[in-house]
């Protein structure tokens, strides 16, 4: 298993290199540069800035220099937040994103799985319909709409929770952003879970278990849960990738200092160093998450393990 994981990791290196190279050159093809703005710079100052960031050198030389830096583990300087290097910014923002995204992930998984099971057991009854309606709402309402509504209701009308800010990580500050982040995933997971559970419950081995006289709770816990989780797990990989890279909308609306807006802001600002740095970081993260999903598969499904 360990050897398999290692080989998988090794094979990601060429993928990373290709993505990085493509990204480097596409970025430079985009019109506008990091120093274009509302106030154009006098040519002398502009030349000074470009020299400072080696932007005056031939592109291929810049590329080789950047590649060398990355190999040494240095993601280079950020052109916009100059007091922090790209690596430092990711290191600062990441814990916030991991806490908010991690909690949203746990919440979405638990609530989604439970709701899916309930839906499957009470199929086509009132409880199932109510759940289906809520899930539909969670799916169709975008977070940039839900977030302000929750802020208005729980922050201003009821005055139960703070409207925004990190607040030192206090639970009250986390409730709204975590909920908003988790909602669409709750909806997805519960739908997957419900479908898979219905299928598993009508399969032969469940019928056998029932014939043995086992009660419903035991059947679900011992026999049905694991196979029914397989589609959920394949969804959890990308979902974790999505949640742990942060959310531009949620971070902006709630004023959280995570890494979610780095990529978008950096791209808009033509902050070349930051865009490439976040690309490297996201890719590594997503590749690792995919690997974890593969390993989880093996644990859930003995047939995969045999292969």
């Amino acid at each position: 298993m360990l050897g398999y994981a290692f080989r998988r990791l090794l094979s990601t290196i060429p993928v990373l290199w290709i993505a990085l190279t493509a990204c480097f050159f596409i970025l430079r093809l985009a019109p506008g540069g990091p120093f274009d703005g509302e106030r154009p710079l006098p040519p002398a100052v502009r030349a000074n800035l470009e020299a400072h960031y080696h932007l005056d050198q031939p592109l291929i030389q810049q590329y080789l220099r950047y590649l060398g830096d990355v190999l040494r583990g240095d993601l280079g300087p950020s052109f916009i937040n100059q007091d922090f290097s790209v690596s430092e910014q990711i290191a600062i923002g990441l814990p916030y994103t991991l806490i908010v995204g991690g909690l949203a992930f746990v919440l979405a998984t638990i609530v989604g799985v439970v709701a899916g099971i309930v839906g499957a057991l009470y199929r086509n009854r009132l409880g199932d319909h109510v759940l289906a309606l809520l899930i539909l709402l969670g799916l169709v309402l975008p977070n940039f709409l839900i977030a302000p509504i929750l802020q208005l209701v729980f922050g201003l009308q009821l005055d139960w929770l703070p409207v925004g800010g990190w607040g030192g990580g206090a639970v009250t500050h986390l409730v709204l952003p975590v909920t908003v982040l988790a909602l669409p995933h709750v909806a997805h997971i519960s739908r997957l879970m419900r479908g898979a559970m219905i299928e598993v419950l009508s399969s032969d081995f469940v019928r056998t278990a029932r014939a043995k006289g086992l009660d419903r709770a035991t059947i679900i816990r011992r026999h049905a849960l694991k196979p029914a989780l397989t589609p959920v797990v394949s969804y959890l990989g990308p979902a974790a990738g999505f949640l742990l890279t942060g959310s531009l909308v949620v971070e902006t609306i709630f004023g959280l200092p995570g890494v979610g807006r780095y990529f978008i802001n950096a791209a808009l600002n033509r902050d070349y160093g930051m865009v490439l740095g976040t690309v490297v970081f996201y890719m590594v993260l997503i590749l690792v998450l995919n690997l974890i999903v593969d390993l989880l598969y093996a644990w859930l499904d003995p047939r995969v393990r045999g292969r």
């Binding site: 154009p40 006098p42 007091d83 005055d159």
Partner: protein
């Protein structure tokens, strides 16, 4: 509890522990919604007003801003200006120290100005101090002798600044963050790391104590500041938050004391529900449309004038934007020091109906409109709700002239990249004053200036502005600048649309917040009721 769930719990435990640590309630400090994330705390690396809010609280120059944003004595207690207006001699206050207790000396100023102009620093705003002797030559690399810069420490408390030519606004330019002193002892020791939050040393009323990128910068009172006794507020938190609607909600929940921008579409709501808290004031800035003066048909003055006349400026502030921006008929906003009321276009007194009539006549005269060639205009703006509203409204206003408009929007970086390369027909632009002087705006239309997007070129205009800047007589200078403005307006060099407004929302608990044309409100002048 099964083995598996125990394992799960042990994974979750650190997270739960982290959540359980409750927030320490801050002592009553000022919470400001500050907009963007600061680039740096290094005054030579800044360019935005949100950065200025922080930098101006933690550093102080030779002169500084009072609550009205006028220049008053800062680190210098007095100064003398030579009769020819070229040599400024400043005397520093006695006993000035940095926040680490080291003395602030004239040498720190000399060091800072040399660093600002050093091409290796790549300071974006260095050009603001180009009036200083040899500054431009050094900054552009033509003069390698950095010691020849016209800033000299005579002794620990005396600083002499020599200018290239007399410059009326120079004292005002010294308020700017490009003129702050820097701790030479620290920068010599730490290099670029001097500005890290754990190292930085400052000389202003506050010192920075925490910076979480993407979230906030926290400052607390600097007991070493020369006027620390008169500083009332204990500290400030400058929050990064660009979502204006979310900012307003947090303000209503009491999480912010000051909003530095507001959602325009909620202005009416704020007026009604938070009476007296919206502080909307004319700002020394101009919103305008640049017109390509080199490309037909816009090289025809009649076409430019007709388009400009047909803009119904009176309704843009009231109806299109809703915050009541003041219509602009001049190039220089009102209220610039020593300039008096600016010149205005000569058709400013006509009614809108009369303007339309004349505009139609001008276009027909130029061969367009009814019976003539069709006039097609591409109108560019950088992607933004407000710019879009204005552009759509103006396109509709041009329609009766028979002009068909293509609206073209790009993100900010692309917009300005193309504008500076002269790719435009008509394009949205804006300018906020760097210093309190009409020259700051007229400079935008000089033929050799980068920011002159429309490539307007008039030798007489250039000559007048240069002559004005060489003059040491305030009234003669103003007269020359006004002549230049007159020419640019008569030739419809560009289309002024409205003067910017500063849009703060200020809690009733704050006193000492004075509306001013530069939108600068240093925390040291404010007080906060409990």
């Amino acid at each position: 509890m099964s083995r598996r769930s125990r394992r799960l719990l042990s994974l979750l435990a650190p997270t739960l522990l982290l959540l359980a640590t409750t927030t320490v309630v801050d002592a009553r400090i000022l919470n400001i919604q500050n907009g963007g994330d600061p680039t740096s705390l290094d005054p030579h690396k800044l360019s935005g007003d949100w950065e200025n809010r922080i930098a101006g609280d933690i550093f102080e120059g030779l002169v500084t801003e009072n609550p009205q944003a006028e220049a008053i004595a800062g680190q210098a207690e007095s100064w003398e200006i030579s009769d020819d207006g070229l040599v400024y001699t400043f005397t520093l206050r006695e006993g000035l120290v940095w926040s680490d207790g080291e003395p602030v000396t004239a040498g720190d100023f000399e060091f800072a100005f040399r660093r600002l102009m050093d091409p290796a620093t790549a300071a974006e705003y260095a050009y603001l101090q180009y009036p200083i002797k040899n500054a431009e030559a050094i900054n552009s690399g033509d003069n390698a002798d950095i010691k020849s810069l016209g800033v000299r420490a005579i002794d620990a408390r005396t600083l002499e600044i020599t200018l290239e030519r007399p410059t009326a606004y120079f004292l005002g330019a010294l308020k700017h963050y490009t003129a702050y002193p820097l701790p030479e002892h620290l920068i010599e020791a730490q290099g670029d790391d001097w500005v890290k939050i754990e190292n930085i040393v400052v000389n202003g009323p506050y010192k920075p104590v925490e910076w979480v990128p993407g979230s906030h910068v926290t400052t607390e009172k600097n007991p070493e500041f020369h006027a620390a006794d008169s500083v009332s507020i204990e500290g400030a938190k400058f929050f990064t938050l660009e979502d204006q609607a979310a900012g307003l909600k947090r303000y209503r929940a009491g999480e912010f004391d000051i909003l530095t921008s507001m959602p325009k579409d909620q202005y009416a709501w704020i007026l009604e529900n938070l009476p007296g808290q919206a502080r909307v004031t004319p700002f020394a800035g101009l919103y305008y449309y640049a017109v390509n003066n080199n490309e037909p048909p816009f090289d025809d003055q009649r076409v430019r004038q007709a388009l400009s006349m047909a803009i119904h400026r009176d309704i843009i502030g009231t109806d299109v934007l809703g915050t009541g921006e003041i219509p602009a008929y001049s190039w220089v906003p009102p209220g610039m020091a020593g300039y008096g009321d600016p010149e205005t276009v000569d058709w400013a007194t006509l009614s809108y109906a009369e303007r339309i009539q004349e505009a139609q006549a001008l276009l027909v005269d130029a061969g367009y409109g009814e019976g003539g060639k069709p006039l097609e205009v591409q109108l560019r703006y950088n992607t933004n709700d407000n710019h879009k509203r204005v552009a759509v409204a103006i396109a509709a206003m041009w329609k009766p002239l028979g002009v068909s408009v293509e609206l073209y929007n790009t993100e900010t970086k692309v917009h300005y990249d193309e504008l500076s390369r002269g790719i435009l027909q008509v394009a949205r632009a804006g300018w906020l004053a760097d210093y309190n002087d009409a020259d700051n705006f007229l400079n935008l239309l000089k033929s050799d200036v980068e920011f002159n997007y429309g490539r307007y070129a008039n030798e007489e205009f250039d000559r007048l502005v240069n002559a004005a800047n060489a003059s040491n007589d305030t009234s003669e200078r103003a007269a020359l600048l006004r002549q230049a403005e007159r020419i640019a307006l008569d030739e419809s060099a560009a289309m002024p649309i409205y003067y910017y407004l500063s849009e703060n929302v200020v809690s009733p608990a704050i006193s000492g917040f004075e509306d001013n044309a530069f939108d600068i409100h240093r925390t040291r002048w404010l007080t906060l009721a409990e």
